[in-house]
């Protein structure tokens, strides 16, 4: 076999491999499929989910921003998606965050204000779903020990953790958007276009308060 032939074989092989890999590994911006992100089920179609605030949840702006977070998903609703209402009782014992199946009746949830060190350092919030043939209940808990929460609606000053962004993100999990959009995905840049359902919430930003197009098209695809 001549060197020229060997070179020709190698060149053709390299071109075929590179072309195939580019096609097979590409992640188009619209590739946030329901199957990849709603991995723990969905709520029943057109369901109304009621939630309340457990004993100890702080008042004032904390409640306003939690409400604003869930409204992001209500506002993104198209046909078949759940509607979340803040209509259960507040400041009562709804049970424990670790026991979402114990919230009163189906299609209910509760918000908790807890020390989340048991979930690791740097934890902002955690969402739980009670899952069977569908999603039945949810709980969300926010870290009560964090000293750098920002619960306002303006620019997040310094390096604070943005409570509104965290609330929107956790309510995204509560509606069934379970798997994060990968940090390496084009929807998760470190700038103002970062999608709400990207993994981490960057301190000192407010960019994840409102749902982004990639959040919405995935959510709309699930219901």
């Amino acid at each position: 076999m001549t060197m020229r032939k060997v070179f020709r074989i190698a060149l053709v092989a390299a071109l075929v491999a590179v072309g195939s890999a580019a096609v097979l590994t590409a992640t188009p911006a619209s590739a946030h499929t329901v199957g990849n992100h709603f991995t723990r089920g969905r709520w029943p179609a057109n369901v109304t989910i009621q939630y309340g605030l457990n004993t100890g949840f702080p008042t004032g702006a904390w409640r306003s921003q939690a409400y604003a977070g869930k409204e992001q998903w209500n506002n993104a609703t198209s046909s078949g998606e759940p509607t979340i209402l803040w209509t259960l009782a507040d400041d009562v014992n709804h049970g424990t965050a670790g026991s979402p199946c114990g919230i009163s009746g189906f299609n209910t949830g509760a918000l908790f204000w807890n020390n989340l060190d048991y979930l690791g350092s740097g934890t902002l919030g955690a969402t739980r779903l009670c899952v069977g043939s569908a999603i039945f209940n949810f709980t969300i808990e926010f870290d009560s020990t964090r000293s750098n929460w920002y619960n306002g609606t303006g620019d997040n000053p310094d390096s604070n953790a943005d409570f509104w962004s965290t609330a929107t993100h956790e309510f995204g999990h509560a509606v069934g958007f379970w798997e994060h959009i990968a940090e390496s995905d084009g929807a998760c840049p470190n700038d103002g276009t970062r999608a709400t359902m990207c993994p981490s919430i960057y301190n000192g930003t407010e960019r994840q308060r409102t749902v982004a197009p990639h959040d919405i098209h995935t959510y709309d695809g699930a219901y």
Binding site: A21, T25, C101, G120, S133, P199
Partner: protein
């Protein structure tokens, strides 16, 4: 000009090399969890048909010094206090890779009742990503 018969070995050799290169590229582009990490929910051995799924959200700066095992024990202590039905009898590392760990708790009957999934960030340490457990 070469005949079709003369060119055939060239195409076969090119195809073999291309396939090998493609397999290497695809293997290298696989996620950190690797291809053989089962869905944590598939490990559960619940007696009922409901389970609890937990998703944890972190900030982007706080470092974690604890190991997955230490974090799992901390979580188990909190859950034992929150839910009487949760009575773990043992902890097992079910999946271990360089930056990924699945830790399970079993009950007295050696049935898996919870699976905690951790991922290690090079700068921030081990972080729990999700948990599935029997309700």
């Amino acid at each position: 000009m070469q005949s079709r018969r003369q060119l055939y070995p060239t195409f076969v050799a090119a195809a073999v090399i291309a396939g090998t290169l493609l397999a290497v590229v695809l293997a290298m582009s696989a996620g950190p969890a690797g291809a053989h990490r089962p869905d944590p929910a598939s490990r559960l051995q619940c007696s009922g048909d409901r389970f609890i799924a937990t998703r944890v959200t972190h900030d982007n700066v706080t470092k974690e010094a604890r190991t997955p095992e230490q974090l799992a024990d901390s979580w188990a202590a909190a859950m034992t206090a929150q839910r009487k039905a949760f009575q773990p009898a043992g902890r097992v590392n079910a999946f271990t890779a360089a930056d990924v760990r699945d830790v399970v708790f079993v009950n007295d009957a050696k049935r898996v009742i919870s699976v905690l999934s951790y991922e290690r960030d090079a700068d921030l340490g081990w972080r729990i990503e999700s948990i599935v457990e029997c309700a």
